[in-house]
Amino acid sequence: MPQVTLTVNGKRHTVAVEGRTLLVEVLREKLGLTGTHIGCDTSQCGACVVHVNGDSVKSCTMLALQAEGAEVTTIEGLAKPDGTLHPMQEMFREHHALQCGYCTPGMVMSAIDLVAKHPEGLTEREIREGLDGNLCRCTGYHNIVKAVAAAWPLMHAKPMPAAAE
């Protein structure tokens, strides 16, 4: 069986995989990182989103072998070692942006990437469109959108530009 070496949440792993093994399967089944979820089989739901080399990626769309040498961050790798949550996690809690929690890891990972890539600010409409790849059946998205907007100033350490609000 071929092998793949990748760094996940700062730790290097080498695992044997089949050619068809998906990144999400390696994370969940080989590395025991079950925070990354699987919600579909057509790459439509976003429950499996992780960061690969700093970009959000649906880990069900990527073969494990494609992650050779990659730096992967999952939901388990967001909080600081002392347990301090990432501002996005904090704001999800603050604004009740999760109910059953199943979509949450993917939603948080997508939202962090969205905010990080928009230093110019985000309107409510842009947040909604930016989260278009992540399904949630519980929250109606209302509080997720609020949480993402609230995380923006914390992540960029400045107020959201007025034009974007």
Binding site: T42, C100, D132, C138, G140
Partner: protein
């Protein structure tokens, strides 16, 4: 600690683990030595099974076992049971054909499981399933109730000739006919309620396990583990209850679809017993589409008799309800006692008659989903009321007001069995219109028109029923289960509290709200309260969570158990304080002697109960641990008003919900933050049903929406910000005054959205639109006609 009791927006205790990726969902669990199950399912809607050849699969790499329906038959295992029996008009019991775990003889819907392959890895099981050969003789199939009832239609079950499961009625037909005969006017509306796929984001999963002594454990994605233990243990696999443990850990949404006992749960448990190895199965999403019970799917005709002023005189409803290919656990109850009994709505219609025919088709079974019967009743009524307004020219708000049950009429007996205990429909209507700035609408419509957009506003004034009860009444109506709930309150020696509840939380946040109820009553901080649910080995026999029953029924049991704790605590305090029990008061976490400053804290009493050195041991047992079972006296009746405002793009037909306002009467609010979240989610489902979602079948029963590629789920950009308000009257018959909030959003919103679209299209002569109001449907209307005067 700040205020954490009833009414505080306490942040959720469960969020920490979910946000850190440390939830514990069934698919996250792996048991040593487990094998993986994969199901070969029917790709035919309806066919006779001529031959199943599993030889190649059985010898494929990694395969441990291959099972077919014949193995279950050989073991004397019958089918999956149905939990509710309906009787037809003529008194005969409904047709209740068998529902085998794996198909026997025939397949009846796409997704019907035929063969189970068990292998060392998931991939090996899946690969081996490819090698199975099944010869089918295709039979004609049906998907719609109308086709299934046609003479000569293919018969799904020999036990149900003509595909009729039951033909049921409620209400006074003679009185309704008489009222129609004398009516000034009759308004009629034909409508359908579209079939939905629940699509909780966590796909169903199950792990069966059996130890050497024959003790079984089933980990499953369930809303009600004790119900599964009872149904599967007692009725399917014949495992004594003390040897079967069912665990429903963190569950990623349910909405009804995880109430039922499913074939896969029975298979993994049974196979674990055979193999003495754990057996794991996790649904792929495409399996969810063809095996999770669907929701809705009604075809109805509604007629209202009116006097000259538009007062409702009588309502007549005829509904065909699709049951799918088999009876799911509670399916028969949905279009009867959760639908037809709701047809009075918020109106004082004096007489009502409804008949409901439940029909078998070659589709996935249909059962209770997010509102279950009440969304269907509400859509029918609230569309009918707008059609009456359209036909008579009476303003639709005035028409509603004219027919409301007034606030001083409670308790109010409807002509369809229910007795409402409380409500105030005028108040929720007025508050919603104000919050939605209804008076400002004409200006907004004008502004939209200037941008080339059609803008419309719609309302729905709805009512629903939660916490189905009492047990004796439900039993008389066909329920084969009790409908009480149970709570065990264990005060620990140092005064912290563990609550064991029969309800289940799969997104609702009970770990927080139930702790708030404890904080309110016992004065113990929320952080010192642990709420345990979802494991039959830990919790007493309770019925689980569905029908927005958890706080109304489970919360009541919790209060009753805490009453017992306080009563016992008073006796202990009386002993310690050398006072009479009658003089002991309990307030703010302290037992004190009335009129003195002598007191003992809750923690001191707890410790005394477990270290009974100075204790009235002759009259009182040690310990502080009480259980209460609570059987409700009645349903609770949340209601309210939803207002939707839509804009339609003339070029594309795309409908955007631009404003949404919900003002609900849900009784006492325990946690306003959680309440708002529940309403948001329900409204998004309602918008999804109104605009996007449709479980698609071709005429023969082949699924045409089998994934998220072709079943349109509401996404963040399909939903607006949602204004949520509450205007509550209290439930009069439970100790907390609570009514329930889990489903109001999904119940009240669909007709508000459709009423808004019809309003926006009024110049096009549109009187009614069935859901989903897709852009294609709207575009065709826009193309078909230059605007003309509204006319029927």
């Amino acid at each position: 600690m700040g205020f954490e009791g009833i009414g505080a927006a306490v942040k959720r205790k469960e969020d920490g683990r979910f946000l850190a990726g440390r939830g514990n969902y069934v698919d996250d669990i792996n048991r040593p030595g487990q094998v993986y199950a994969y199901f070969k399912r029917s790709d035919r809607p309806h066919a006779r099974i001529l031959r199943v050849d599993t030889a190649a699969a059985a010898s494929a790499p990694g395969v441990v076992a291959v099972y077919t329906g014949a193995d279950f038959a050989a073991d004397g295992i019958g089918g999956l049971p149905c939990g509710w029996q309906i009787h037809s008009k003529d008194g005969s019991p409904m047709a209740e054909p068998p529902h085998p775990v794996l198909a026997q003889g025939k397949v009846r819907h796409v997704g019907d499981p035929v063969v189970a392959v068990l292998a060392e890895t998931r991939q090996q099981a899946k690969d081996a399933a490819e090698l199975i050969e099944i010869d089918y003789e295709d039979l004609p199939g049906t998907a719609s109730v109308l086709d299934a009832l046609k003479p000569g239609a293919a018969v799904v079950h020999d036990e149900a000739p003509g595909n009729v499961c039951y033909d049921w009625q409620i209400g006074d037909k003679a009185a309704v006919d008489a009222a129609f005969a004398g009516a000034a006017r009759v308004v009629k509306l034909d409508l359908t309620n579209n079939r939905l796929v629940p699509n909780a984001m966590e796909p169903r999963a199950a792990i069966g396990e059996c130890d050497i002594a024959g003790n079984y454990t089933l980990y499953t994605t369930s809303q009600n583990p004790h119900v599964i233990r009872l149904l599967m243990g007692a009725f399917v696999l014949h495992i004594p209850e003390h040897q079967l443990r069912v665990v429903a850990p963190d569950v990623g949404g349910g909405f009804g679809s995880k109430i039922y006992h499913y074939a896969e749960e029975a298979l993994v448990t049974w196979a674990a017993g055979k193999l003495k190895r754990p057996v794991k199965w996790t649904a792929e999403r495409s399996e969810s589409f063809m095996s999770d019970a669907h929701g809705r799917d009604h075809v109805s005709t509604a007629e209202m008799a009116l006097d000259a002023e538009g007062h409702f005189l009588a309502l007549k409803v005829s509904t065909l309800a699709n049951m799918g290919a088999y009876l799911s656990t509670f399916a028969p109850a949905v279009p009867t006692y959760l639908y037809a009994t709701l047809l009075a709505g918020v109106y004082k219609t004096p007489v009502i008659y409804a008949e409901v025919k439940a029909v078998f088709t070659n589709t996935v079974p249909v059962d209770a989903y997010r509102g279950a019967g009440r969304p269907e009743a509400t859509f029918l009524l609230e569309r009918l009321v707008d059609a009456i307004a359209h036909d008579t020219g009476i303003d639709r708000i005035e028409l509603r007001r004219r027919n409301f049950i007034p606030a001083n009429a409670f308790p109010y007996q409807t002509p369809v069995a229910l007795q409402y205990d409380s409500g105030d429909y005028e108040t929720t209507l007025a508050a919603a219109l104000k919050a939605a700035d209804h008076t400002g609408f004409p200006a907004r419509r004008q502004a939209a028109a200037a941008q080339g957009k059609l803008r419309g506003i719609g309302i729905s004034t709805y009512l629903e029923a939660c916490g189905i009860a009492p047990s004796a009444v439900a039993g008389a109506l066909g329920a084969r289960a009790g409908l009480y709930e149970v709570a065990n309150v264990r005060v620990n020696p140092t005064g912290s509290v563990t609550v064991f509840t029969g309800t289940h939380s799969h997104g609702q946040g009970h770990e927080t709200t139930f702790a708030q109820v404890v904080a309110e009553q016992l004065g113990v901080p929320v952080s010192q309260v642990d709420v345990v649910h979802g494991d039959t080995a830990r919790i007493p026999f309770g019925m689980g969570t569905y029908g927005s029953r958890s706080i109304a029924v489970g919360g009541s049991a919790l209060v009753k158990a805490m009453d017992k704790i306080i009563a016992k605590g008073k006796r202990i305090a009386a002993h310690l304080l050398e006072a009479s029990v009658d003089d002991i008061e309990f307030k703010d976490g302290k037992f004190s002697v009335a009129g003195t400053d002598k007191s003992k804290t809750f923690g001191e009493i707890a410790l005394t109960a477990y270290v009974p050195h100075n204790y009235p041991i002759e009259e009182l047992e040690p310990g502080l641990d009480e259980t209460a079972f609570y059987d409700p006296k009645n349903f609770t009746f949340p209601g309210g008003c939803h207002v939707a405002e839509v804009e339609i793009d003339r070029e594309t037909g795309v409908v955007r919900v631009v404003n949404f306002t919900a003002v609900d009467d849900i009784g006492r609010v325990i946690n306003p933050m959680i309440v708002e979240g529940q309403v948001h989610g329900g409204v998004a489902q309602g918008i999804g049903q109104a605009l996007l979602e449709q479980a698609g079948y071709d005429d023969g029963g082949q699924i045409v929406s089998g994934s998220f590629m072709d079943y349109t789920m509401p996404r963040a950009d399909n939903v607006p910000n949602i204004h949520v308000g509450t205007e509550s009257t209290l439930c009069t018959h439970n100790p907390l005054g609570v009514k329930g909030v889990g489903e109001v959003g999904a119940i009240g919103s669909p007709p508000a959205v459709i009423n808004a679209i019809v309003n926006a299209l009024e110049a096009y002569g549109v009187r009614h639109l069935d859901m989903p109001a897709t852009s294609q449907k709207i575009w065709s209307i826009l193309q078909a006609g230059a605007p003309r005067m509204a006319a029927e």
